[in-house]
């Protein structure tokens, strides 16, 4: 497969049934807490409260009172990996565990065996998506966990698990260009219906995402949907550190090597200080090489 693909999400069609959340967990064998009252109440239907090491996808719930005073706007959103082209997580990953699908789908995938658990990917992601298992001060067994776009299914010609379970067809998967076309058509339709702030998200963000979202309301109604999202400039600055370190190390070693060569064969006579006469004496010759005139304030 060499075509860029994308997961399509239409917030205006989503009924927030969270079947996608369940399908994701089932296909990827991600456990859920089963203890009584194990879930933390968020004050909304959002559950769990955020992505976690065993939850790669959540449906977010946000609401606001309408300006006309009648009812509320209730916005359902999809929070998961955006599969960016300019992926901050890939940029900062020091072990090469995170990478773009070599088949050219654009999906950001990872090799857990290569993950060293530094968690830099989370700080590099403008959407705060990557999560890690076994987070602890000792640093053992920490591994990344995030949406892979169900790459194992995609490689076998199937759609991601979340997409196949979506009842209202809010989710879709296909060539990115087709998904964008579909998104724009939907936004146009929403605007005609009076949703003036409807927009396509993911088209230009982070160099173009491979998750395309149709937002029914303005961005502020959704969780972690930043304007003009791009990896922090610091992620690029970090890229300069390795060549800078190499230049510094090579430069200093070369300089010291040259210094060593110029010092080969260096010898000096042994010195002795006569503390009464205040004379420094060359022991081999008995010659006074320096006299300290205390009366003149020399020391």
């Amino acid at each position: 497969m060499s075509e860029e693909m994308a997961i399509y999400y239409d917030a205006s069609k989503c009924t927030a049934c969270r079947g996608c959340q369940a399908a994701c967990k089932v296909w990827n064998e991600l456990p859920s807490p089963i203890d009584f009252n194990a879930g933390v109440c968020t004050g909304t239907y959002q559950n769990p409260a955020d992505l976690d090491p065993h939850t790669r996808l959540i449906i977010t719930f946000n609401e606001r009172e309408r300006e006309n005073g009648y009812g509320v706007d209730w916005a359902f959103g999809r929070r998961s990996c955006m599969h960016c082209t300019n992926a901050g997580c890939v940029n900062v990953c020091p072990s090469g565990a995170l990478y773009h699908d070599p088949d050219g789908t654009g999906l950001v995938i990872y090799d857990k065996d290569k993950c060293i658990g530094c968690q830099y990917c989370r700080s590099g992601c403008p959407f705060d998506v990557p999560r890690h298992t076994g987070v602890g001060v000792q640093g053992a067994g920490i591994k990344i966990d995030k949406c892979t776009g169900c790459i194992d299914r995609v490689r076998n010609g199937r759609k991601p698990a979340c997409v196949t379970t979506c009842q209202p067809n809010a989710l879709d998967f296909g060539p990115r260009s087709e998904m964008l076309e579909k998104a724009h058509a939907r936004v146009d339709a929403l605007k005609e219906k009076g949703f003036a702030d409807a927009s396509v998200y993911g088209e230009t963000e982070c160099g173009g995402c491979h998750t395309i979202m149709v937002l029914k309301y303005d961005r502020s109604m959704y969780t972690h949907v930043p304007e003009n999202a791009n990896p922090d400039g610091l992620t690029e600055a970090l890229g300069f550190m390795k060549p800078l370190a190499a230049v510094g190390a090579v430069g200093i070693v070369a300089g010291l090597g040259l210094s060593f060569l110029t010092g080969v064969g260096y010898k000096r006579d042994r010195l002795y200080y006569d503390e009464k006469a205040h004379d420094e004496i060359d022991v081999d010759t008995g010659e006074v090489v320096k006299h300290i005139d205390k009366e003149k304030g020399e020391r």
Partner: protein, 234 residues
Amino acid sequence: MARTNYPERDIQRHSLQTRLTHDTVAIACIWLAISGLFVFVPSLAAAFPDVAQGMRMSHRIVGAIFIIVPLLSAITAPKGFKAFLHKYFVKWTPEDVEFMKKFVPYMLGPKKVHMPDQDEVKSGQRIADGAMVLAAILIAVSGLVLWLGTSVFHAGATAELVMRLVHDVCFILFIVFGLAHIYLGAGIFQPYRGTARLMWKDGKVSESNALYHWGFWARKEIEEGNVEVAKEEK
């Protein structure tokens, strides 16, 4: 009649506690640099992922030693710590300025360039050690945020990126000054032969070497009687 007997004499320069602190921190630094490379260089971590995981864990343990040992040393010997600060924060003398002006020519021509007398800590040493200590403090602070900010609490993306940049920049600074420090301190540079003894052996310096490196300090110590005969001349 001219004197002909010049016994070999030593001056005590560093205490046992100073040496133990220095040596522990030095070994920790070397280990931290090696283990840090597994995070800093992707190909290294990718080639040995299991080793990299172990290195990351050791980076935390040794990092804690790197922070705790000097703090503990300063707390248990406050007078020594005060004296240490006093030696480094001193007014620059004309000889200090001259030393810095001659430093690079001297490093590239020690047989021809002669350095001026110095106090207990050379001006160049004060700059280099100061840079290393400053880098070490920033490395420690940023390291703690990177460590605890991803385990005990969530520091936030920007804070972690900034701390990582600080950690990397200070690491480079530390490597550059550290290599120079090893070159001079271990006596690899011919005029500095014998200096390894100061931190890795008995903490003493021969009178002759002391007069060469720290003339003002050496003469003061000898005049005050802080010198011992190591070997009588026959």
